[in-house]
């Protein structure tokens, strides 16, 4: 394996890890709200979160590119803060990946929160646990399978993305060139041996992730 391949593997793992952590931090309150709210906006927010499931990554990438570009609102904000522009940088790739993988983390966690039901939370309240206390001491432990599924799916999905990386990240070695892009490059250059190594590795990795998910977490199979 060439050093550029190793660089791509390392970058992919780094991206997926950071994105997974962010997904849990951002996805959990969204999942909690979606699971508990009686608001009229529930359907709308749920639909927006789920959009990446049906949209081609190029569509999402296109709009993110425009928003984060020099004339977009986010682009102007990052420029005025002296951060420069996000497209074609690693942080830009992280942000795009979080959007793209959000439903894969939110939905299992939301399902797990919904499965808890009202009663354990009521019991906690009658035992003088504040809502914040109840969330951490009852809801989160009871929804643990949902968090495991959400984290694994979010991680695996980030590893497997391609279209959005090309749109937002481009193809910069050690900055935005992840494994899926590297495979594409090898195939373009007719380097089938190198492509085989990476592609085969991806197949094995994906299989192991799903095997782990199905073996250790059978109850959550339906969320896939």
């Amino acid at each position: 394996m060439e050093s550029s391949d190793l660089g791509a593997v390392w970058l992919t793992l780094k991206l997926a890890t950071i994105v997974t952590v962010l997904l849990l931090i951002i996805g959990t309150p969204i999942a909690w709200w979606l699971a508990r709210t009686r608001s009229a906006f529930k359907g709308m927010v749920g639909a927006i979160v789920a959009l990446p499931l049906v949209l081609p990554p190029t569509v999402l990438g296109f709009y993110l590119l425009i928003t984060m570009g020099p004339n977009g609102p986010v682009g102007q904000l990052t420029q005025s803060l002296g951060l420069g522009l996000l497209p074609f940088t690693f942080p830009g790739l992280v942000i795009a990946s979080v959007f793209y993988s959000l439903p894969f983390a939110v939905q299992p966690i939301q399902n797990a929160f919904e499965a808890i039901g009202e009663r354990p939370l009521e019991v906690a309240a009658t035992l003088r646990a504040s809502p914040w206390d109840t969330f951490w001491s009852v809801a989160v432990p009871l929804a643990k399978p949902g968090f495991v599924s959400g984290a694994i799916l979010g991680f695996a999905h980030t590893v497997g993305e391609f279209g959005i990386v090309l749109m937002i990240g481009g193809n910069i070695p050690d900055k935005t060139r992840v494994v899926s892009v590297q495979i594409y490059d090898h195939v373009e250059a007719l380097e089938y041996t190198q492509a085989h190594w990476l592609a085969g590795g991806m197949v094995l990795f994906s299989f192991l992730v799903l095997l782990g998910l199905y073996t250790f977490n059978p109850a959550r199979r339906k969320t896939l």
Partner: protein, 359 residues
């Protein structure tokens, strides 16, 4: 501890109405009795603060937990109360001990009245402490739920049909523990039930609910002795008498004494002087104008007719009697009532065919 519990709730949903205004004793067990749909569970949830009712008012002595007139509503987690639900609702991610300390940890130190081992002992769950909750029987789960609530140092314990999901064997297993709570703790308990047996056995004060309104509220003996409430208990109408074991006789009978007379029951194992609560169904009481000596019925007490009223079938009447201050009900046919010319003030003899001992 002598305070009052004031509860006033009004709910008006599509097909459900609740309108109660209650003053309850701040001690002992108060039973909220009614059929399903009578509003007793909603009432309990409103007391816990799990449901907020419009025009609601709920106070425990001087402590006002809800007063919508002042826009005051203390959320459930800031109320010093415990709730035991029909299903034990133990936290599945915690062990028995974990569930109990969940309650204990969140009780302010100065309010704590019992330690975990003490409560485990009281409820007979010492040997279960390290078990996961999934390995418990229904009765054990319910006892753990009660222990968890007690360790949270409640000033009021609310129980929503805690025995309804259990079979008769488990019920009998848990009832003595509820009686211990009653006799050993000074926490007032509000107990929702639709089982006349449980109410007769446990309650001191009885509230009858029907279709969201209070039909009667008063001391258990008084409410059970009323004959203007035939619908509430139906065939189960009857009174409760507090008696005391007076003698164990040679022929395997035990004599119970109460003000107004004595009754014989099958041999009991309790020592002399033990108080026992007995339930006497109206259908098990017959009336005679003269003492019956040539009868197999052993138990007969002198009584005076207080009033007559209708009962669940048109062919019968319910007769309210006074036995030295204790109310007693008899359910007899209309024909017998006419033949014997039963009328208020008449002195006669009540024959008791069966006595249910409740403890």
């Amino acid at each position: 501890m002598s305070f009052e519990i004031r509860a006033k709730f009004r709910v008006d949903r599509n097909n459900f109405k609740l309108d109660v205004d209650l003053t309850l004793p701040g001690r002992g067990i108060t039973a909220l009795f009614g059929h399903s749909g009578s509003g007793k569970t909603t009432c309990l949830r409103a007391m816990a603060g799990l449901e907020r009712t419009r025009d609601g008012y709920f106070a425990l002595g001087n402590e006002v937990w809800q007063d919508e007139a002042q826009n005051r509503f203390i959320p459930p987690h800031q109320r010093a109360l415990g709730v035991v639900f029909q299903e034990a609702s133990l936290f599945p991610h915690l062990s028995v001990r974990g569930n109990m300390s969940f309650g204990e940890k969140r009780a302010p130190l100065i309010e704590r009245r019992f330690a975990l081992p003490q409560v485990a002992e009281l409820l007979g769950i010492n040997h279960l402490l390290e078990r996961p909750t999934t390995e418990l029987s229904g009765g054990e789960r319910q006892r753990v739920a009660i222990a968890r609530a007690l360790l949270n140092a409640p000033q009021l314990l609310l129980m929503d049909e805690p025995l309804a999901a259990l079979d008769i064997k488990r019920k009998l297993e848990i009832l003595p523990y509820l009686e211990r709570l009653h006799s050993e703790l000074s926490i007032p308990i509000i107990y929702v039930s639709h089982a006349p047996d449980e109410v007769a056995r446990l309650a001191d004060h009885l509230v009858l609910l029907d279709q969201g309104s209070v039909v009667a509220s008063g001391p258990l003996k008084e409410v059970l002795g009323r004959i203007d409430l035939p619908a509430a208990f139906g065939d189960d109408a009857g009174v409760v008498i507090e008696a005391r074991i007076a003698a164990h006789e040679v022929d395997d009978l035990t004599r119970l004494e109460f003000p107004g007379g004595h009754i014989f029951v099958s041999r009991r194992h309790e020592p002399l002087g033990t108080p026992l609560r007995c339930r006497i169904h109206a259908r098990d009481v017959s009336l005679a104008l003269v003492p019956q000596v040539q009868s197999s019925i052993l138990n007969s007490v002198a009584a005076t007719v207080v009033d007559l009223g209708p009962t669940d079938t048109p062919g019968h009447v319910l007769v309210k009697l006074d036995v030295a201050g204790n109310p007693l009900l008899a359910r007899i046919t209309k024909r017998s009532a006419e033949n014997l010319q039963i009328r208020p003030g008449l002195a006669l003899h009540a024959q008791i065919k069966a006595v249910a001992l409740l403890a």
